[in-house]
Symmetry: C2
């Protein structure tokens, strides 16, 4: 059954609840273009960036962090009205709607913050669950960069550029 | 007449020769997604990044810097075999082949460094000279992100994603 989720802004003490599943995701190397051997501090710096970046967490009824997302401008200056976002869901909570709940929260936050569109730069094409989720909330694949990601199981696969306008 | 150019790696003393024309380009706000009001130190940090980023300068016969380029991985980890590059040419030396000479040097350096492809993430579609130059050295437009750049003259215009494989 789907957990009852609360999504809120990151608190300074939240990292300890994020790192265990974020580490699993990065060490697996199948969905993020991060160094697989990244240190905990390197991961924290990459995930918890200063404003204008915003970081959110999804917590279950027991106040356990089950997912996290970040929202930031995709570019600076003349490109700062387009948002970028990233999502990590505890693999043990996969398929329970955590990613969708985070996606809806982040899209609403981006709209409220005045962003005009959202763009993902590197969605691994074999990450079918993520691709389908983004398509179901209005994203389109604008291009697939061929052979741009070295997947530990599948070898060279494409990276999708995905985009949607915001209301 | 085209100047006789030498292209070499950046020296620590080169920044003073780069900043005057780089500042013009950034303040104009027509081609880069940087804050137009960036400070000199902010610009230096954005341009002269640590390894694996490499920075090059093009100098004329009088040893005056007329252009600069940087080469770095477009992503980390499983995406680090695709290069990214950026180019700045002194507007006073426009049309003299400086951009092309830098492009050929950077493509050769990227190939020598083992990159498999090169990707540009944000080529402003109204920057026709740059788009034509990249097409002439083998890049293709894989997508244009609509309205992704707020141009100070033209308003919202697209950003091209451009890509080519390396030999």
């Amino acid at each position: 059954m789907a957990p009852k989720l609360t999504i809120r802004d990151l608190l300074p003490t939240d990292w300890r609840g994020i790192w265990p599943f974020l580490e699993q995701i990065i060490r697996a190397g199948e969905t993020y273009t991060w160094p697989r051997e990244v240190t905990e501090e390197g991961a924290r710096v990459r995930w918890v960036q200063p404003p204008p970046c915003r970081v959110f967490v999804a917590v279950d009824e027991a106040d356990v962090i089950v997912g996290t997302a970040k929202l930031l401008p995709n570019n600076e200056g003349g490109g700062s009205h387009v948002a970028n976002a990233s999502f990590m869901v505890d693999p043990a909570r996969s398929g329970l709607g955590v990613g969708r709940a985070l996606a809806e929260h982040v899209l609403a936050a981006a709209t409220a913050d005045g962003y005009r569109a959202m763009q993902f730069n590197a969605v691994v094409e074999t990450n079918i669950g993520a691709v389908r989720l983004w398509q179901s909330v209005g994203f389109k694949i604008l291009a697939t960069i061929p052979d741009a990601f070295d997947h530990p199981v599948h070898g060279l696969v494409g990276l999708h550029i995905m985009h949607r306008n915001l209301p």
